[in-house]
């Protein structure tokens, strides 16, 4: 615990110091990034200690805030989430030091470093908080610091809009969570988390309240996690932030939503069966919509943001399957599903962190993230390109990398469920497997397109010049993340071996831990690791043989064969848009298709101009939220008179509200004698 407090103190003090040194870009960067790394190392050690020993370690201090107490605790679940946070955060900080330095002429670097360290500390506090008020405060600080980081380039209108969407979504989630905690607190009589499980088991939180809390939590935490249809802020906000912040946001920040759901599960060990089913169904829907949108995007960071939605969907699906397995008393299904979800949380943090850093490196090196202007970057940025290909294979869930292992567990869980049941359940599981396979196929398309168009071929736009490979400070963290992906791929059983404590917190019924199935996933994880290792070895061996064999035969270098056409140009290459033409325009459901406008050349000797335009706006945003918010914005515009833009008027409103609330409270006591 002491180490953890030291980590938080280092982060906060370092962040403050970086703010004080804001006049010097160099000093702010060194102090900000340095303390982020140092604090994360302390945090990582404390998290690993807790994961390895499995015990809990708490600290409770008195606090003057009503109902609040400074109650923090590190248990296996907390430590489980702190590990990816404290792995990704320092690497992103090292990278960000160099990345942000490019803005030193335009902006002061003190505030972003202050906010970055604050963000890391706030996320860590969300994971350790064991009191409702403390949790919500940390949650809000986390949301606000992320908001200011998203708005780093606030002079761009698109960035301001993205930040606004993020802020609105965060606060809707916040409002729902307040209600959820009020309900929890009313049932338990306190807002300290350690009383909540009793409240559920002693039925002082009844059936109706319990289900209401779960609904509020699924919506509130789901907004953070980007579940469809609550995802619309995510593809706006994540690409707008500086890339090292995008990595932390996609890698960790959105997983606080999953953490919230899992934390609630430690209070209510036996949620109603609908919770598992809803999460599983919502997860599959999220995954499908996320990947279907990802493959249409032309901004490389937007591709990654939508792919994050897909992966959050997969994790939610797997979690839901685990819960459903628990409800149905199928230990294998429950264990495989939960282990798959947990492993995918770690995997996704590493893979998506890696890819956002690669995308940032490309943006840094070329000045654009529009894939239709890029191409051939693997020759110009060999380190960035190679790690990006590795990360893409991992994200497409292909062997021999770590993404495959967790996806494999999900498949196994669903297949085991299908085999264990009859009729409707089995059939649903069958089709779920088919849908997972479809999602897998679409993610292969997405990442072949992303890497193939951006990194391979020839540069599409001659105006993208001065392309250079990023410095070691940027490629180093990427290589380290790639290495970690490989390590998990080869020894997943060791990795998942750390999850024992978390699994016991999540799943459990009488005699569960002594049942023979309890050990089951470790054996299959060992197989997955071995098979990954063999695949890697086979590829490397054959490549080495071929290299030795053909070294003598290095033939003449020639240009790509143009099929007889003698003057091919780089503009004739397949583009990102044409790559998915068939899927996007013919195979996807109609509401997911891009909107196109084309003006074809007419006549035998066309002289007029031809024109083609294609847009892929988010269907949920376009069809649901935009009309809804436009309608209400129109209605609410009459309330503008209240909005004076003067601080003292707002203070007056607050005073009125407090007076009214107090009056209501005293009237209630007076008339009905309730307090």
């Amino acid at each position: 615990m002491l180490l953890f407090l030291l980590a938080i103190a280092t982060l906060l003090l370092g962040g403050g110091a970086a703010y004080l040194y804001r006049s010097s870009a160099k000093a702010a960067t060194w102090v900000g990034a340095g303390t982020a790394v140092l604090g994360s190392v302390f945090g990582l050690v404390s998290a690993f200690q807790a994961l390895a020993h499995g015990g809990t370690d708490g600290l409770r201090l008195a606090w003057s805030i009503p109902l609040g107490s400074f109650y923090i605790e590190i248990d296996p679940l907390t430590a489980f989430f702190m590990v990816p946070l404290f792995v990704l955060a320092p690497l992103a900080a090292l990278y960000g030091g160099n990345y942000l330095y490019a803005y030193k002429e335009k902006k002061s670097l003190g505030p972003p470093w202050f906010l970055y360290n604050l963000l890391i500390a706030a996320i860590a506090m969300v994971f350790v908080a064991r009191n409702g008020i403390l949790f919500l405060m940390a949650w809000e600080i986390m949301a606000l610091s992320a908001y200011f980081l998203v708005c780093f380039e606030h002079e761009k209108e698109s960035v301001r809009k993205a930040g606004w969407a993020y802020l609105v979504a965060s606060h809707i989630a916040f409002a729902l969570l307040i209600v959820a905690f009020v309900l929890l607190g009313r049932g338990a009589g306190t807002l300290d988390f350690d009383q909540f499980p009793n409240a559920f088991s002693s039925r002082s939180i009844g059936w109706a309240t319990g289900n209401t809390i779960w609904i509020l939590a699924i919506i509130g935490f789901g907004l953070k996690a980007g579940f469809v249809p609550l995802h619309v802020w995510l593809p706006e906000a994540h690409p707008a932030a500086p890339s090292h912040v995008s990595a932390v946001m996609s890698g960790i920040l959105i997983k606080t939503g999953l953490y919230g759901l899992l934390r609630l599960l430690t209070f209510d060990r036996t949620p109603a069966p609908w919770v598992g089913l809803t999460l599983a169904g919502l997860g599959l829907l999220t995954a499908f919509l996320g990947i279907a949108m990802a493959l249409q995007q032309r901004d490389i960071k937007r591709v990654l943001a939508y792919s994050s939605i897909e992966n959050m969907g997969l994790i939610a699906f797997s979690m839901g399957l685990g819960l459903w397995g628990m409800a149905q008393r199928l230990p294998e299904v429950a264990l495989l599903g939960m282990t798959g979800a947990l492993l995918h949380i770690w995997n996704h943090a590493l893979m998506k962190g890696l890819l956002f850093l690669s995308a940032g490196s490309i943006l840094h090196g070329t000045g654009t993230k529009d894939m239709e202007r890029l191409g051939g970057l693997l020759r110009l940025m060999p380190f960035t390109g190679s790690t990006m290909i590795l990360g893409s294979v991992a994200l497409a869930a292909l062997p021999p990398l770590n993404g495959f292992v967790s996806k494999w567990l999900m498949y196994m869980s669903l297949m085991k469920y299908s085999m264990a049941t009859e009729t409707a359940g089995s059939l649903m599981a069958h089709f779920g497997v088919g849908l997972l396979a479809l999602i897998g196929g679409l993610s292969v398309v997405t990442f072949v397109r992303l890497t193939g168009i951006v990194l391979l071929g020839a540069p599409r736009d001659k105006t993208v010049t001065h392309v250079h490979e990023s410095s070691k400070w940027m490629t180093g963290p990427m290589q380290l993340l790639a290495l970690l992906c490989l390590v998990i791929a080869v020894i997943p059983q060791r990795t998942a071996g750390l999850f024992g404590g978390v699994l016991q917190q999540m799943i459990g019924w009488e005699g569960m831990h002594s049942s023979p199935e309890w050990e089951w996933p470790s054996a299959s994880l060992e197989i997955a690791g071995a098979i990954n290792a063999w695949t890697l070895l086979a590829v490397l061996t054959l490549a080495a043989v071929l290299w030795v064999r053909t070294r003598r035969f290095v033939g003449p270098q020639a240009s790509t064969w143009g099929c007889g056409y003698v003057r091919p140009t780089v503009r004739m290459q397949y583009t990102g848009r044409s790559f998915v033409e068939m899927i996007a325009e013919h195979l996807l459901p109609r509401f997911l298709r891009p909107r196109t406008r084309r003006e074809a050349p007419r006549g035998l000797f066309p002289a007029g101009k031809a024109d083609f335009e294609s847009q892929s706006p988010d269907p949920v945003d376009q069809k649901v939220y935009a009309p809804f918010f436009c309608y209400w914005a129109d209605r609410f515009s009459r309330l503008r008179i209240l909005q004076q833009g003067k601080v003292h008027v707002y203070l007056l409103y607050i005073m009125f509200t407090v007076v009214l609330a107090l009056a209501w409270a005293s009237i209630r006591t007076w008339f009905w004698g309730v307090s």
Binding site: V433, L546, A558, M582
Partner: protein, 305 residues
């Protein structure tokens, strides 16, 4: 000792037989066209010749272009090790290997498509786009079919799913298995770029998927691609043989020849299909693949009811 012998036969057969299937397809087609056709062993000659040549690499390409054939060959070879040929044994067999089979082939596809995009040629980009697009539909159909077998056998091991006990399921749930068999045959044609999906004998725009992706490969690299493609055909042929003829006589001297005969029969069947059908219009290809998905799905519905 017995397993060792069995596995050795498996590996030797898996590495030597596949080009013969391609030769047999060509021979069948020639027979239908009233030609003499190339010798049955032509593919072996071609491969040997290609491995002795040098390679020309385009200036646009990177290491990915050279990795494509390597990964393609390794993944096809790993896939073959998973398929039981006789009597429910495979050299590489573990619970959940059916998913690994689908995904390892996906890895091969990933790098083949990347290698095609690496050349910067519009033709090869086109081929890559189509390959990954059609795979999106072929993969669910394939896995749904495997799920039917998994449900029937109560196992997630390919070797157990396709062992001799499948014969008893043919009498109880024959309808489901017929649907899966049909679906898999369509998948075999699609995954191996045969008519009616693609015409492997032509180049350029007539051949729209696989051949167009490998236009720039030459020498050993091309040899590896062709060999990998032959192995992949063998993977699917072996699956279909095990599904259609799940007999287990207990005598290796009968089982192995029966299996080999079965794969040759599948190759001839492919040749017949190629002879009597024309290539589909590109826009109709997804329809046929969706039909394969539906066949597998109906197989599941009939089974679960």
């Amino acid at each position: 000792m017995d397993t060792l012998v069995h596995n050795s036969v498996h590996v030797v057969l898996a590495l030597t037989l596949p080009p013969l299937l391609l030769g047999l397809i060509a021979k069948t087609k020639a027979l239908f066209a009233g030609r003499k056709g190339p010798p049955l062993l032509q593919w072996y000659f071609d491969l040997i010749r290609l491995f002795q040549k040098g390679s020309v690499f385009s200036q646009t390409t990177t290491w990915v272009f050279r990795a494509g054939p390597v990964v393609g060959l390794v993944t096809a070879a790993m896939a073959i090790l998973l398929i039981p040929m006789v009597n429910g044994i495979a050299p590489l067999s573990f619970t959940g290997d059916l998913i690994f089979l689908a995904y390892i082939l996906g890895l091969g596809r990933f790098f083949t498509a990347l290698a095609a995009l690496d050349t910067g040629s519009s033709f090869e980009g086109m081929g890559a786009a189509r390959e990954v697009t059609f795979a999106c539909l072929a993969e669910p159909a394939f896995i749904l079919g495997l799920m039917v077998l998994a449900k029937l056998s109560g196992s997630l091991k390919l070797a157990t799913m396709l062992d001799g006990s499948l014969a008893t399921h043919w009498s109880s749930s024959g309808a489901s298995l017929v649907l899966v068999l049909l679906s898999w045959f369509i998948i075999l044609l699609a995954e191996n770029s045969r008519i009616p999906f693609d015409d492997p004998n032509t180049h350029l725009e007539l051949t729209m998927i696989h051949e167009v992706m490998v236009l720039d490969h030459s020498g050993p690299a091309l040899g590896m691609i062709l060999y990998g493609a032959a192995l992949k055909l063998f993977v699917f042929a072996a699956l279909i043989v095990r599904l259609a003829l799940p007999v287990n006589m207990g005598d290796p001297w009968l089982d192995w020849p029966l299996f080999i005969g079965g794969t040759l029969l599948v190759a001839m069947l492919v040749g017949v299909v190629e002879s009597v059908m024309a290539r589909l219009r590109l826009t109709h290809v997804p329809v046929l693949l969706i039909a394969a998905c539906l066949l597998s799905a109906f197989g599941a519905i009939l089974l679960v009811r």
